[in-house]
């Protein structure tokens, strides 16, 4: 059964255990500059605090709620789409959606065209610009752990249960229950966004104030080019046949050109 993670934004206290766990488990390098940034700094950055060596980041948004100023912490990482644009956009199959949920990336297959980065509806892919032989970097949803019936590194360390790991369907039901019980915003971000994602977010403050792409399509992105790609071979063969016909017809009884 496909796994997922439920992020209950109001339950996050901003301890950033998850991002440290990600660093530990994936052996990501520490960058002095990134290390000293705060969650407020990261929320203002163009890339949401995600870098090739930062696969997840906690961003803080200061908002108004019930005429009271509150802070909300939002964990960002790859959303692990159900039908991912990166997988469909990759012409060398370097991306793969596992049946367990993770969308993984194998650098040995990657050509480095970065079409995936352009295609990603959540803009979470990062490129190792500084390396001579660069690859794409993003959360792999701890694929080996998940395949091993373990939960992801980040969820395993969350002290408040703000991020919980489980079967996506069960989490979706839990999310809806919590929305009703706690009076959250009536939307599970990730239920339908971009055709649904393995990561689900619920919140008591408006998503659009926390840099969520709320105007996103609910159709899976690959469906936009699927038909085109399926038609291509037929169009190609048909067009070639027409050209051949025209060629024969137009060259009939004529001297061939030099």
């Amino acid at each position: 059964m496909a796994k997922g993670v439920l992020v209950d934004i109001p339950k996050c206290i901003g301890c950033e255990s998850c991002s440290v766990a990600c660093k530990l488990w994936n052996e990501l390098e520490w960058d002095e500059q990134e290390k000293n940034k705060t969650a407020i700094d990261r929320a203002k950055e163009p890339n949401n605090g995600l870098w090739p060596e930062e696969w997840t980041s906690i961003n803080r948004y200061d908002l108004e709620k019930d005429s009271e100023s509150v802070a909300r912490y939002v964990k960002t990482q790859c959303m692990h789409c159900e039908d991912p644009a990166c997988v469909s956009s990759c012409f060398s199959k370097a991306f793969q959606k596992l049946p367990e949920g993770p969308v993984i990336y194998d650098q040995s297959l990657c050509v480095g065209c970065r079409y995936c980065m352009m295609a990603c509806p959540f803009d979470v892919l990062r490129y190792e610009w500084k390396k001579a032989i660069p690859g794409v970097r993003k959360c792999q949803m701890c694929a080996t752990r998940v395949a091993n019936n373990q939960e992801t590194a980040c969820t395993s360390v969350c002290p408040t249960g703000a991020i919980i790991f489980g079967d996506r369907e069960e989490l979706l039901a839990e999310a809806k229950k919590r929305i009703k019980e706690n009076g959250y915003v009536d939307r599970v971000f990730g239920e339908k966004e971009a055709g649904g994602t393995s990561w689900l977010y619920i919140s008591d403050t408006p998503f659009e104030q926390m840099r969520f792409r709320t105007d996103i399509t609910s159709k899976p992105l690959p469906s936009y080019t699927e038909g085109y790609m399926k038609a291509t071979p037929f169009v190609g063969v048909g067009w070639a046949a027409i050209l051949a016909g025209l060629y024969v017809y137009n060259n009939k009884g004529k001297e061939p050109l030099d």
Binding site: V111, Y115, M117, L125, E128, I133, M229, D258
Partner: protein, 407 residues
């Protein structure tokens, strides 16, 4: 300055020598300089990576190299397949004089694209992966296959010309294969020209609605077709100056009219598309995208149509203007889709991208290399219709003195 080399074939006692010439002019020195600078930058790029040589970043993973070298390179090289279609398939023989030069331009364009891509991608040594690891759901997969196969086909097509001078024995076989190569060589570009547009269709909600439409592939295909005439006009006038060879006005005018016909179709589709999707408000909002969109259509399509179907197109000046406007229009269009079209989305949280000087150097350098290659090939092979090269060949054999000399 003239460089003369003699190629000695290994076959027995009989020596056959071929004369190659390449005259260095000030302009050609400039090209060489730019190309050398570009090669230096390219070396740096391979040693230190893309970050050191470009201003690309995680908000702008695609920049000048993709848009200029690939999107634009492929589009501007579109004259090749269009001419092949008109001349060889439809047998409009009056355009035959420009066929070879158009197809050579196209070939060189594609070689630049392929070189540009190898520099542009991160793991260039993995370029062959899509041949075995089929990401067949990707539009880029089709683009990749078509461009690479088409480049090979074009090289073979050029071999048909080349074997008139060297390896003459292969000429008749290539000539036999020409019909197949021509048909494949028209089918493939048709597919990938449109697919280049379709690439952007996956970026749902990121591209400005003025450009993001289901018609993207058709627009890309049509514009690559009609820009061909513009390119031929410009190219023939430049080559005319450099190589003392002028294409007759009626030939160009005919071509321009065909091109303008495609433009009318393009314009009608654009308007239909705007009606269907209701983007008139966006088009006349007179913000940056709207201004770019309108000028792209006005200067790149509407005015060229007027030129083509008026008496203006019977003068060389009018034709050149047609060429300049059409080519600029398509350049604008390709840049608009990426930069103007996606700028608002990609910069919404403070991202930014201005191409680095080194990026410009590489792009210009690749064009310079293509120009130099064109000049060399046009001078040494029967491209423009003058049979000088074969003439030179005769002299050499008679002379028989040449071994390997440069003067």
């Amino acid at each position: 300055m003239e460089l003369v080399t003699t190629v000695v074939s290994k076959a027995g006692a009989k020596k056959s020598t071929v004369k190659w010439k390449f005259k260095m002019t000030p302009m050609r020195w400039v090209f060489t300089g730019i190309a050398a600078a570009a090669i230096a930058v390219i070396l740096v790029r391979f040693v230190l990576g893309l970050g050191a040589t470009t201003n690309l970043n995680d908000q702008w993973p695609w920049g000048l190299w993709i848009s200029f070298d690939v999107l634009l390179g492929v589009a501007l090289a579109g004259g090749g397949y269009g001419t092949a279609l008109i001349v060889y398939v439809l047998r409009r023989d009056k355009f035959y004089p420009i066929a070879r030069s158009a197809m050579l331009t196209s070939l060189l364009g594609y070689i630049v694209v392929v070189l540009g891509l190898l520099i542009e991608v991160g793991q260039w040594f993995n370029f062959w992966r899509p041949y075995v690891s089929w990401g067949h759901a990707s539009v880029l997969f089709e683009v990749f296959w078509c461009i690479s196969c088409y480049t090979v086909i074009q090289i073979l097509e050029f071999c048909e010309v080349g074997t008139e001078k060297v390896f003459k024995g292969a000429h008749k076989y290539l000539k036999k294969a020409m019909p197949v190569m021509l048909i494949i060589g028209i089918t493939l570009p048709t597919l990938h020209q449109s697919s280049l547009g379709q690439l952007f269709y996956l970026m749902v909600g990121k591209v400005n609605p003025l450009w993001w439409t289901a018609f993207l592939p058709v627009f890309f295909l049509l514009s690559s077709f009609f820009v061909g005439a513009g390119m031929i006009v410009i190219e023939s006038s430049l080559a005319g100056k450099a190589l003392n060879h002028k294409v007759e006005i009626p030939v160009l005018r005919g071509l321009v009219k065909i091109s303008a016909g495609a433009m009318i179709l393009y314009l009608m589709l654009k308007i239909t598309d705007m009606v269907v999707r209701g983007t008139f408000a966006n088009a006349f909002a007179f913000d940056l995208p709207s201004i770019m969109f309108l000028s792209e259509l006005t200067f790149g399509v509407i005015i060229p149509i007027i030129i083509a179907f008026s008496s203006l197109s019977s003068t060389r000046k009018g034709l050149i203007w047609f060429g300049i406007l059409t080519v600029s229009g398509v350049i604008m269009n390709r840049f608009d889709v990426l930069f103007t079209g996606m700028g608002k989305y990609l910069n919404q949280y403070g991202g930014s991208y201005v191409p680095a000087v080194s990026e410009f150097i590489v792009s210009l350098g690749l064009v310079s290399i293509a120009c130099l290659a064109y000049l060399f090939l046009a001078e040494n092979f029967n491209i423009l219709g003058n049979h000088e090269s074969e003439h030179a060949d005769d002299i050499e054999i008679k002379d028989g003195k040449y071994a390997s000399t440069a003067k």
